[in-house]
Symmetry: C2
Subunit: 325 residues, 2 copies
């Protein structure tokens, strides 16, 4: 198991300065008081964005005042508000910020996860066409992007990880070792991708490609399944070392063994669905509820057209997109 302990090396000023204007905070601090001004600006920015306790989106309110919300986490008393629990997009106890983003041409989901305290962030499957949108959001939220990871070597779009590295100092790209692609971090089974006090666990789930991985939160409440398991579907297996038997076993042994409530966040959806659960896919996935033999037969008879971008995406994605690392 490899742990990537990331350094907080990106200066705060650039990120904060980019967000000052809408808050009316665009005065330039004197050099000698820059750190103090940065702290003040950061506090004002956090207050504006997250409220007095710099919460992220999705917190909820309960009646109690000063009692444990989960192991080791104690909420302070709020005179006016109330102690919060959680809703979609965030959790208070572990302060995990989460955003799902969509690229419509390739129907790709990009996921942003961040430690709402340290501001360290990880981006999953970013797409070249939406790099400006993604970096703007990351800057607005005051995050420091530490790792940009691809769940596999995509055939339908070009990743933005390479270009992103040229635009954010200290950013590391990541992909599985089995993909054969180059990146700063080559992932294998059991690796952890750390961001602040959070991390994602790597599960190798080959079948769509040899190098597909599923990224799982430590509590197994969220799984980013790439092109292995889709909502009521799965990735195709007819190119790029695809193997139906391998995919079937990956999903049944590495994903369907997660808790029923575990949220499934795929790399794509083509029907406007945003999320599923392990329990739902175990019960309703039209392919994976079949036997292995039936599944192989289904996959062998999909007769899908060749992905339109495969000839440019595959070579580019072997080197983090258009920019060599």
């Amino acid at each position: 198991m490899t742990g990537y302990l990331l350094q907080k090396s990106i200066p705060l000023l650039f990120r904060v300065r980019a967000t000052l204007s809408p808050l009316g905070l665009d005065e330039k601090p004197a050099m000698c008081s820059r750190i103090t001004a940065m702290v003040l600006v950061r506090r004002r920015l956090e207050t504006a964005l997250f409220g007095h306790r710099s919460y992220t989106e999705g917190s909820r309110v309960s009646e109690a005042g000063n009692r444990p919300l989960s192991s080791g986490v104690r909420a302070r008393h709020l005179p006016l508000a109330r102690v919060r629990t959680y809703s979609s997009g965030t959790r208070l106890n572990d302060r995990l910020l989460f955003r799902q983003l969509f690229e419509s041409e390739s129907s790709t989901y990009t996921y942003l996860l961040a430690d709402a305290v340290s501001k360290d962030a990880v981006l999953i499957d970013p797409v070249l066409e939406t790099i400006d949108r993604d970096l703007k959001l990351i800057d607005e939220l005051g995050l420091q992007l530490r790792v940009a990871v691809n769940t596999h070597c995509h055939a339908d779009h070009i990743t933005s990880t390479g270009l992103m590295k040229t635009r954010r100092a200290g950013l590391k790209s990541a992909i599985s070792k089995s993909s054969g692609a180059k990146a700063d971090i080559l992932l294998t089974e059991g690796d952890e991708i750390r961001f602040g006090k959070h991390h994602l666990m790597v599960r190798e789930t080959p079948g769509h490609t040899d190098g597909c991985v599923t990224l799982v939160t430590p509590d197994q409440s969220m799984a980013f399944t790439g092109d292995a398991l889709l909502i009521r579907g799965c990735g195709r297996t007819d190119f790029q070392q695809g193997c139906s038997k391998s995919l079937y076993n990956s999903i049944h042994k590495k994903i369907f063994t997660l808790p029923a409530h575990c949220l499934i966040y795929p790399a794509h959806d083509y029907r406007g669905q945003t999320v599923s659960t392990v329990g739902e896919e175990r019960a309703f996935n039209p392919r994976l509820t079949k036997s292995l033999d039936e599944f192989v037969t289904i996959m062998n008879n999909l007769n899908l057209p060749k992905p339109s971008k495969i000839d440019i995406s595959m070579p580019a994605n072997l080197v983090c997109g258009v920019q060599p690392i």
Copy 2:
């Protein structure tokens, strides 16, 4: 204030039977033991979907065994799992199931909310083209759809609420009284849309149209803003009784007064963004961070083309879509 206390009138059997096959539960119970069989089937379905405690997606796990998670809610001990807190998409303490769905032609978001215990559900802004997808999901999750509500009389797509009423007994359509449209429930400021033990509060937010409403959860953690406030944008004001000044005031007085962490779920997004927060929009919305006069000038100079579907959508949506109520 009007409260809509909904009756549980839809037979369970139809919904459960529709989901039996993937679970291998498609044997037909004898008439005399149908109720018992239904209970067993329901338990097996819930276990398959949600785990041993019939949780919905998004639950999280913490270390403790049998202690309060929030006021009035006590978690039972789980021998193998652990007591859960929450993550995106659901909350354990109030058992709110939540799904965001997307219709790509009009870039419309539809929202499904349900009481995970009683299974009563409400659907916000459903689109005609995705009625089959939406009803299939509702059936798979074992929900009873009580109310289908439109945040306003849409100009860019036809609502499915009318057709949906012909396909789900007991379903009520809802829209604001100020919209001038017909529906079973005509909403005004302060009304509550109830589903199980949950409800949404109605805030009138005119400006895009006279009849726009924003629906807010009682704890103010989620706001469904329709076309009033979009992510880093807002609805246009150049037709259908649109008024820039009114929209500006609606957003500032009825939405920006919500807590900073309150999640903003709009009726549309055209850039692949799924959610924002009040804090973010207060800080970064390029239109709403301006003065009223500047906002009016911006809105008067958008020069947008006429919505392609307005001539068919508007008359249809005045009567819940293609089907008269």
